[in-house]
Assembly symmetry: C2
Homo-oligomer: 229 residues x 2
C-alpha cells in the first residue's frame, strides 16, 4: 500500500511552550492536511548543548517579550498556557530529561500510531505549562500517565523501562536526528517534500509550511467554526 | 480632524533582512488595513548593545537555518533578496550607522508623509541585501538617494545633514524609543490599540497582529491576485 501523504516530523520537548503550540496545531492539521504526522519526542537540552545555542530568556528583553508573546499566542491558538512561577527552576534546574525518557518509553511500547505519545505529552505540558506542577518525579509521571489513560500496571512498567539504557539511547538518537537537521531549538518540524527535507523552526512558519507542502493554512484552529472578528 | 485609523510603528534598520520583509509587507498593508503606518528608521547596533542580545547568526546552526529561511520567505513574500557574499563584513564590520543617519536625515527633511523615507530605505536594502553593494560611503548613499528620486543637490544637503549632531541625536532617540519597548532586535512593530502599545518582534506575527488590531491577514502579498495552489 502506498500513500501520497507527505511525512511531517515534529521534534519537541515538553519543557518548551512554543513546542506545545506547534504540537497542538499540527495535531489539529493532521485531519485537515494530507500529511502523515510523526511525533518525535526529543531532548531540548541536548540540542542546545550540541548547537551552542543559549536559552532566549537569558536576554532580559527577550524574556519580557516572550512572556507577552506566549500570552497572546496562547489565546489566539486556543491553547491555554501559563508560565510556571519559577521558570528558571522548572525549565533549567529541574528540566525535562526524565519526562522525555518517559515519553520515549511510551513511544517504544506503542505499536499502532502515536495516540498515547500524544496524550502523555499533552498531560506533561499541562503540568509544567498550565498548572505549574512537577514533571521530574515518578509520582508526577504516574499522574500524567494515568490521566492520559494508561493503566497503573502499564505506568509502572513504563517508569521502569524509561530508566533502561535502550530508552536512554533511543532519546539520544532521536535528539541526534534533530541535530542532524541543524536544530538549534524546538519545535523543529521537518516536512519531507519530493525527497527533500525542509526543516522549520518554531511555531510561526505554518503558513510557509503549508505553501511548501501544497496545502492551505486557515489559522491555528482549523476545525473550529470561524469566530466573528 | 480625527481618525479611527490605528497607529502602527515599524522600527527597522536596513542591515536587517527580516526588517526588509516586514517593511514590504506593512507598506503593502497600509492600503489594505485601516492603519496609519509610521516608519521609524533606527539603529540595530544600539538595540543589540542595550539589550545584551547577540546576533543570531553567531550560532552556526541558526546561521544555516536563517539562510534557508530567508530564501524561502523571500520567494513566498515576493521580496527578492540575496545575502551579501561576506555577511559578517557587510552586517557587522561595515554596519549601517552612516546609512541609518542618512535615512534619518531624509525623514527629518520630509514634511509630508514618509514616501521618500520608504524609497530611500528600499534602495539601501536592495544594495546590501540584493546586489551586494556598499551602503557606508557617501558615493553609495548618493546612488541610493538618486535612484529613490532625490535631486543631486538634495542628496548633497542630506549627506551633510546626516553628519550633524541633531541627526545623530535623532537616530539615538528613535532607537531609544524602540529600546523603551524592550526591543532586542528588529523589525519591531508596535501597534497602538485602545491606548495600549502592543509590540511584535520579527516578520512572523502578522496574522496575530491582524487579530490584535481587528483586521484580516490574507498573506504577505495582499494586493496580488490570488495564485493557483
Amino acid at each position: 500500500m502506498t500513500s501520497s501523504r507527505k511525512v511531517v516530523e515534529l521534534f519537541y520537548d515538553v519543557v518548551s511552550p512554543y513546542s506545545w503550540l506547534g504540537f497542538e496545531v499540527l495535531c489539529r492539521y493532521r485531519s485537515v492536511w494530507n500529511i502523515d504526522l510523526k511525533l518525535k519526542p526529543a531532548y531540548l537540552g541536548g540540542v542546545m548543548h550540541a548547537s551552542g545555542n543559549r536559552p532566549p530568556g537569558l536576554v532580559h528583553n527577550k524574556f519580557l517579550y516572550m512572556t507577552k508573546d506566549l500570552r497572546r499566542l496562547s489565546e489566539y491558538f486556543g491553547v491555554p498556557l501559563s508560565p510556571p512561577a519559577n521558570v528558571v527552576e522548572a525549565m533549567f534546574e529541574k528540566g525535562s530529561l526524565t519526562a522525555m525518557r518517559f515519553v520515549t518509553a511510551v513511544a517504544e511500547k506503542e505499536t499502532n500510531g502515536d495516540m498515547m505519545v500524544e496524550k502523555v505529552s499533552r498531560e506533561l505540558w499541562k503540568r509544567i505549562w498550565r498548572t505549574d506542577q512537577d514533571i521530574t518525579k515518578d509520582a508526577s509521571l504516574t499522574e500524567a500517565g494515568l490521566k492520559a489513560g494508561l493503566l497503573p500496571t502499564e505506568v509502572e512498567a513504563l517508569l521502569h523501562l524509561a530508566k533502561s539504557q535502550p530508552i536512554k539511547d533511543k532519546l539520544k538518537s532521536v535528539t541526534q536526528e534533530a541535530i542532524d537537521y541543524n536544530a538549534f531549538g524546538f519545535p523543529l518540524t521537518v516536512c519531507h517534500v519530493n525527497g527533500k527535507a525542509e526543516p522549520f523552526f518554531g511555531s510561526d512558519r505554518f503558513e510557509l509550511m503549508a505553501h511548501c507542502i501544497g496545502e492551505k493554512w486557515v489559522g491555528p484552529q482549523p476545525t473550529k467554526p470561524i469566530a466573528k472578528i
